[in-house]
């Protein structure tokens, strides 16, 4: 039975098309946006509460269900800053986190360069050894490491906080994989030009690795900024104390927690790694998905 294209049928086809187009271009995006906005709010709710509380006075937060920002922000942040010496602690933590991140980048790049571009005896063995560090997190070797550091006289020093973290399986693996994706033409050409390996490393390899360097910096900086157990054991004085331990002190100062002050400390402490995250997140995503050549 062949269907004649009556005006009526044509109209209904067009209506169907229009309905589908509406679903695809209007209804679907609107619904998905609504869903994602809800998801984002739920995921960020703890942070939102932390921020709101950091502006409230104790009279404000004692009212059950009060989620309006208060006017006590300046006082809360000042008290938190002074009581936990946050300025000093953030300086200490920055010194340690930046030196570990930079140290790891340099050392793991050197190791990956050696493994990929040279004939090296026992290369697989060395790589395996470095990978093993993944399975030996600090708690597994904590007592002897602590004893080793105290025999060096490194308790309560920046090097005691930083040096045990310098070896990086993540970094070696990341750079190693990336170097293997590069063509050998670059290195061949520079060798023909009479350039030595170190010239090649600095002139070519480091510039093309920018994305990976950014990604690794973000990962390691955040990792060190958020360290807790090791600083708790090693850094006792305010000269070396790390910022996470400062948060513990804000809780421990009183029998009853001053939530406004504590949350002011919390928000202050989150800001540096959050800024690093926002600045470097493009590198992180590109570095992790192996799109390292598209450098901008």
């Amino acid at each position: 039975m062949s269907v004649q294209s009556t005006p009526m049928a044509e109209w209904s086809t067009r209506a169907t098309e229009r309905r589908l187009a509406f679903q695809k271009h209007v209804a679907y995006p609107v619904i998905m946006h609504a869903v994602m906005i809800a998801v984002v709010i739920i995921v960020l709710l703890p942070l939102i509460f932390a921020f709101v509380l950091s502006t409230q006075s104790s009279a404000d937060w004692r009212i059950v269900g009060n989620i309006m920002p208060g006017s006590n922000a300046v006082e809360n942040y000042t008290i938190a800053w002074e009581r936990a010496s946050l300025g000093r602690l953030m300086f200490n933590t920055t010194v340690v986190a930046v030196s570990v991140a930079v140290g790891k980048i340099i050392l793991s790049m050197m190791a990956a360069f050696a493994l990929v571009y040279f004939r090296i005896r026992g290369g697989i063995l060395i790589l395996g050894l470095i990978m093993l560090t993944h399975l030996l997190p600090l708690p597994v070797r904590i007592v002897p490491t602590y004893q080793l550091l105290s025999s060096f006289g490194w308790i309560d020093t920046f090097q005691g906080l930083a040096v045990p973290f310098f070896a990086s399986a993540t970094g070696v693996l990341l750079f190693q994989q990336f170097f293997r994706t590069l063509t050998t033409d670059l290195a061949d050409a520079s060798r023909v030009d009479g350039a030595g390996p170190m010239t090649f490393l600095f002139r070519i390899l480091i510039p093309v690795s920018r994305t990976n360097i950014g990604a690794l910096f973000l990962i390691e900086f955040t990792y060190m900024w958020n360290q807790y157990l090791w600083p708790l054991l090693v850094a006792n004085s305010v000269q070396t104390r790390q910022v996470q331990i400062g948060i513990k002190q804000l809780i421990a100062t009183d029998a009853t927690v001053e939530w406004g002050v504590l949350m002011a400390g919390v928000v202050t402490t989150i800001i540096p790694p959050l800024v690093v995250l926002l600045v470097l997140q493009r590198s992180l995503m590109a570095g992790l998905s192996g799109e390292s050549e598209d450098v901008r």
Binding site: M32, H33, V39, V40, V43, L44, P46, A50, R62, V64, L107, M110, A111, A114, L115, Y117, F118, R119, I120, I126, L129, I130, T133, H134, L135, L136, P139, V140, R141, I142, V143, P144, T145, Y146, L148, P164, F166, A167, S168, V172, A187, D188, R191, G196, P197, N226, Y228, L229, L232, I247, I251, M263, I270, P273, L274, V276, L277, L284, M285, S289
Partner: protein, 294 residues
């Protein structure tokens, strides 16, 4: 086989020496010493060590404290890994839709990545506070009296929820990177074949994501076992009673608070390592197989 490009003989060893040295000094040697120390009883004052064979291990494995800590940790890891991975996968898939404006969501959703376990503890102690917490209030309105400081079950739920939330940012970052890597034409080709979105995801995209899911499974296990120390130390201190005394927290209290238990603490370190390796192998066997070879 790849050609090695630079002919230098000694330079590569020089380049790799610092990394190798650090691994040996700060990883291999202390790990061996941990193993060695676990066979001794150490007197904290005199520093004298007495060889006791497997005594530290048998004591631990027959003590109800340790067994309780072990089972709590196992349950905690399972909950954090299962919820952490499934929630973040669902969120990442939603956020990766190619719609205008979704980049903003992707940026906002990875914020928890910047937050430490200790700070997570402080924030969740606030929102689940028995008196003023927002979640506590919401639960109260449906008739649940939530008190993580007094109730053991609530305490375990509390640390599990906080630990799961903290790992979301990390997992979402990796899932988003993985989803970005899947070529669009692969998914579109499946769409032309008439597969619906659900089938398309599990048949096409999920298998391509499985290496990342597997990597995250291992990393989340290590995180739940080791990195959650700060969360516990800021909030429950292992309590109430011993309800949240996870292996890592017990190791710390025995090794650094109670001075005469250094040998036992080392034995706990060794068992922790065994525990993690076994868990990793089991995961590699089950999840790894299903993920890679279907």
């Amino acid at each position: 086989m790849r050609d090695y490009i630079f002919p230098n003989r000694f330079l590569p060893y020089l380049l790799i020496a610092p990394s190798a040295l650090l691994v040996i000094v700060f990883f291999i040697v202390p790990a061996i010493q941990s193993l060695q120390l676990s066979f001794y009883r150490v007197n904290a004052l005199s520093g004298r060590q007495l060889y006791v064979g497997f005594e530290n291990f048998t004591r631990l494995l027959t003590s109800s404290d340790y067994i309780q800590s072990l089972t709590t940790t196992g349950a905690f890891i399972a909950v954090v890994v299962i919820f952490g991975l499934s929630i973040s996968l669902a969120i990442a898939v939603g956020a990766s839709l190619p719609l205008r404006g979704f980049g903003v969501y992707r940026t906002l959703l990875i914020w928890p990545y910047a937050v430490s376990p200790a700070i997570t503890g402080a924030i969740w102690a606030l929102i689940m506070d028995p008196n003023i917490g927002a979640i506590t209030n919401a639960l109260e309105s449906i008739g649940i009296n939530f008190d993580y400081r007094g109730n053991s079950t609530h305490a375990v739920i509390f640390i599990s929820a906080a630990a799961t939330w903290k790992i979301l940012g990390y997992n979402i970052v990796f899932f988003l990177a993985g989803l970005r890597n899947i070529p669009r034409d692969v998914v579109e080709a499946a769409g032309l074949d008439g597969a619906n979105a659900w089938t398309r995801f599990w048949r096409i995209r999920f298998p391509l994501l499985s290496p990342i899911a597997f990597f995250l499974l291992i990393m989340n296990t290590l995180y739940a076992a080791f990195e959650t120390f700060g969360l516990i130390d800021i909030t429950t201190h292992g309590g109430p009673g011993r309800a949240t005394n996870l292996l890592i927290y017990k190791l710390y209290s025995d090794g650094f608070k109670t001075q005469n238990l250094l040998g036992s603490a080392s034995a706990q370190s060794v068992l922790l390592l065994v525990f993690v390796v076994v868990l990793t192998v089991i995961q590699a066997r089950t999840a790894g197989k299903r993920a890679f070879y279907r």
